[in-house]
Amino acid sequence: MNDLTRLTAREIAAAIAAGETNAVDVAQAHLDRIAKIDGQLHAFLHVDSEGALETARRVDAGEISGPLAGVPLALKDVIVQKGVPTTVGSRILEGWRPPYDATVVERLKSAGVVILGKTNMDEFAMGSSTEHSAYGPTHNPWDLDRIPGGSGGGSSAAVASFEAPLAIGTDTGGSIRQPAAVTGTVGVKPTYGGVSRYGLVAFSSSLDQAGPCARTVMDAALLHEVIAGHDPRDSTSIPSPVPPVVEAAKQADISGMTIGVVKELSGEGYQPGVEQRFAEAVETLTGLGAKVVEVSCPHFAYALPAYYLIAPSEASSNLARFDSVRYGLRVGDDGDRSLEEVMSLTRAQGFGAEVKRRIILGTYALSSGYYDAYYGQAQKVRSLITRDFTEAFALADVLVSPAAPTVAFPLGEKLSDPLAMYRQDLATIPSNLYGGPAMSLPCGLSDGLPVGLQIMAPTMRDELLYRVGAAFEATMPAPVPPLDWEA
């Protein structure tokens, strides 16, 4: 075989099954590539070579089989893996080794997927550039001076740079899709409740959703099928069969479908280059036999403010447990200080500025006297956005928009302007508030940088994303970053 790292997940699995290569060689090739380039990229926070090779050996010994057996994967560091450090990009969990596996990890393990390590992310998944990681930023393989998106920039950069064919991301307001858009990869936020959250360190419980990152729609579908499905350990997990996403990716036919272009997800804030590629993508979809209509979702304008009340509110409560008592960082426990002082010092030093900003925002929004005006009002907006989606899906099978309003911006550009950073998620947040599935896939370049097309579907109709995505993907070659920085 030539370079094993250039193969798709499906190709790797097929090659292993056919005996053309083996899982250990595949794992080793990816570990070697990580060793070679990750110093420049910083997509990984922890590489688990031993664990990866052990799984690969078990696949080669025939102990585990399946459509993704022996395929390497990068795991976002927000998902717990037994015995493997999990930091969530934060100092506060530095050194913590979880005593249990997330449901997603259990499913990956039993499918024989080879977990290479844990990927970098904005601390507690709060951010759109991975610059808020306590362990330093990840660089975009298309241009090392630019951000890889966030919060799951590590996962997307790893996939885009051929460190791994697959990755797991999590998406609370766009943390799978916006990184996918700016790295030229495929990222899917499944229906909320479609993939178990058990073992996903919570940022915003009612919005968090794990999903696949890949270089092709089919690879994303294969991974989606492995990780999705009802989990009795997550009450919000949906007890229905997994939508037939692999079948839909194979079908890749959209003739006769109606596709809605969301009027509100364009204009101010969207770069002309992004809008240009998006307009061409819509023409392509028409050319593939779909009927394209414009739909209006008037309440999407309020999605961003509603999100920045709901998510921080839940986060302020979810992050209360990081108090130094049971695990993670402990600061100032000198025997004289009170528990309260130790808790305060630990949280003051353990959390970064963006996390603190959101804890304070959320604490304020939930305070008595303000609750109705902020949290309560945001929940009403959430209902209205859901209604917008429901009405739009009466007119169209799926909705489309640019996935991110801009291409990858230079590192540091928005660090001093939180609101500008927040606006990166203008197009992705509505699906989180609604709960429906959405995908970002490459739709060309602008100024040499990838642009993402977002497809949104009704809840539990995830297969529609793959059907449209696969059809669209077939019309243009997968973008490959120049990688001219490689040593």
């Binding site: 999990t86 360190v201 919000t236 409560s317 209360a320 108090d323 695990y327």
Partner: protein, 501 residues
């Protein structure tokens, strides 16, 4: 400085309120599968969920929902058709997530009542209706042990130990509305309420309701006002953990508040700590700066929507209410009201009824449970219901006595044998050799020996002083280690001495 209880209540009107926390007796915790057994080694009944580890998620225990609904139904509450859990946010090291999953503005059960009976001075019973505000479900916290301080409190402690075994045990909170019109006996009403509630819960089988182990805990609110005035400022006395303490806590708070009010001082809204040793309370934290718990709906759990048919089934299957059963017992068993109250207070009413149901006459059942068994339970510090003898076994012992194969004295030995774990009553009789000796041949020697040993008594009897036979009967009983039938012994002695009655 206090004003005596009775005097205080002539001057002021009391308003009381009770918040009761009940640990449910489910096999597993509220949101995970961990064991709930009391007394295990610290931190052995824990898992990622009840330790609040990053990423862990709760799943509602259905049995706990069912138990809470049954409690609500027994307290005549409305049952919500749709409700949610909420997070109550505050930092405390024995709370693993630093929020408690509880219920806030959408409790499972609302707006009920419990009728309780208090005795009047003349011995008659009067019913007082205690209105119930809500019954909701939440999770218990862990336990913190402060080491090195003088009082076991955090102040002055060198370090603290936390045990999370209790964290996540389902806890039902039952909150009364303000109870007005208790007049001269708020303390008695409070105690009667907790006692009645305990009986209701025990009858439902939802909790072991052991106040001493903390599975039933009370907070008592008290305020006083001058007749015609608005209600006064209330204090909340926490963790009042016995029936007697409930009464004492209300009594002492009435006395304390009356003294302050008389002196023109105001009552501070505060939490007070009750001390079992003195029966008094001391000031805890002031509640004037209300803690903001930042309640919001728990996003990790889906709403609870009990099916109305299911609730109707639960309602239809409720056991007879203790008050109803008490009335029935009074009638059926011809008990006096005071007897019934005594049995209730001793926690033996159910046991007496079960013993009667197992075939014993009411008087015998009553005597056993209020007598020997109540004493045994008391001296070994357990509830009568916890004794290792069943009502059916008691009934069988009663039957053996009635059938003449045991005497009253032997019966006690048999019961003690059963309590000591020696098996069924019949087995105890056999292994201890306790059967009544009524074989007259076997007794003849003992009778002769008794007469020979106490010639004086024998002479007196021969001279017609028949009551002196008691001493000789005692000798025979002693010689036969209590196994003889005393009436047979008496007859044999008199025959031997040639005396007829």
């Amino acid at each position: 400085m206090t004003v005596p209880y009775a005097e205080a209540l002539q001057e002021f009107e009391p308003v009381i309120g009770l918040e009761t926390h009940v640990e449910l007796g489910t096999a597993s915790k509220m949101f995970c599968g961990c064991d709930t057994t009391f007394g295990a080694d610290p931190n052995t009944h824990t898992c990622p969920v009840c330790l609040g580890l990053p990423g862990a998620l709760p799943v509602v225990n259905e049995k706990a929902i069912e138990s809470t609904i049954r409690i609500g139904l027994a307290l005549h509450c409305d049952i919500a058709t749709w409700c949610r859990f909420a997070r109550k946010n505050y930092f405390y090291p024995d709370m693993p997530k630093n929020f408690q999953t509880s219920q806030y503005d959408e409790p499972l059960c609302t707006d009920g009542y419990l009728d309780v009976e208090v005795s009047n001075a003349d011995g008659t019973l009067e019913t007082v209706r205690v209105p119930i505000e809500r019954v909701h479900l939440e999770e218990d916290t862990g336990k913190t042990l402060h080491v090195g301080g003088a009082t076991g409190r955090i102040h002055g402690a060198s370090h603290s130990l936390v045990d999370y075994n209790r964290a996540g045990i389902p806890l039902v909170e039952i909150v009364t509305k303000p109870v007005v019109g208790t007049k001269h006996r708020p303390a008695e009403v409070a105690k009667a309420y907790v006692a009645e509630l305990r009986d209701v819960l025990r009858g439902l089988g939802v909790s072991d309701v052991k106040m001493e182990q903390g599975s039933l805990r009370c907070d008592v609110n008290v305020s006083l006002n001058k007749p015609g005035d608005d209600w006064g400022t209330r204090s909340e006395t926490k963790n009042v953990n016995s029936l007697r303490s409930v009464e004492r806590a209300v009594r002492s708070e009435v006395e304390r508040q009356a003294a302050r009010l008389r002196q023109g001082e105001r009552i501070v809204q505060e939490t007070r700590h009750f001390h079992e040793d003195t029966g008094l309370s001391t000031s805890g934290r002031s509640k004037e700066e209300a803690t903001d718990y930042r309640y919001f709906p728990e996003p990790d759990l889906v709403p609870v929507a009990p099916d109305t048919d299911w609730v109707a089934e639960l309602k239809a299957a409720l056991p007879e209410a203790p008050s109803v059963r008490r009335r029935r017992l009074i009638e059926q068993l011809a008990l006096s009201a005071l007897d019934a109250e005594a049995m209730t207070n001793a926690g033996v009413l159910d046991l007496v009824l079960a013993t009667v149901d197992a075939g014993a006459p009411a008087a015998e059942a009553r005597n056993w449970w209020l007598g020997h068994l109540a004493q045994t339970a008391n001296s070994s510090g357990v509830e009568p219901a916890e004794l290792s003898i069943t009502p059916a076994q008691v009934a069988r012992v009663v039957g053996l006595v009635a059938g003449g194969s045991l005497t009253a004295g032997l019966a006690r030995q048999v019961v003690d044998g059963v309590l000591a774990g020696e098996g069924e009553p019949e087995a105890v009789v056999a292994t201890r050799g306790l059967a009544v000796v009524s074989d007259e041949g076997a007794l003849a020697t003992a009778v002769d020996e008794a007469i020979a040993a106490d010639a004086d008594a024998a002479d007196k009897i021969r001279a017609g002083k028949v009551q002196a036979v008691g001493a000789l009967v005692g000798r025979v009983m002693k010689a036969t280690r209590g196994q003889a039938d005393a009436s047979v012994v008496r007859r044999l002695l008199l025959e031997r001495l040639g005396v007829t009655e």
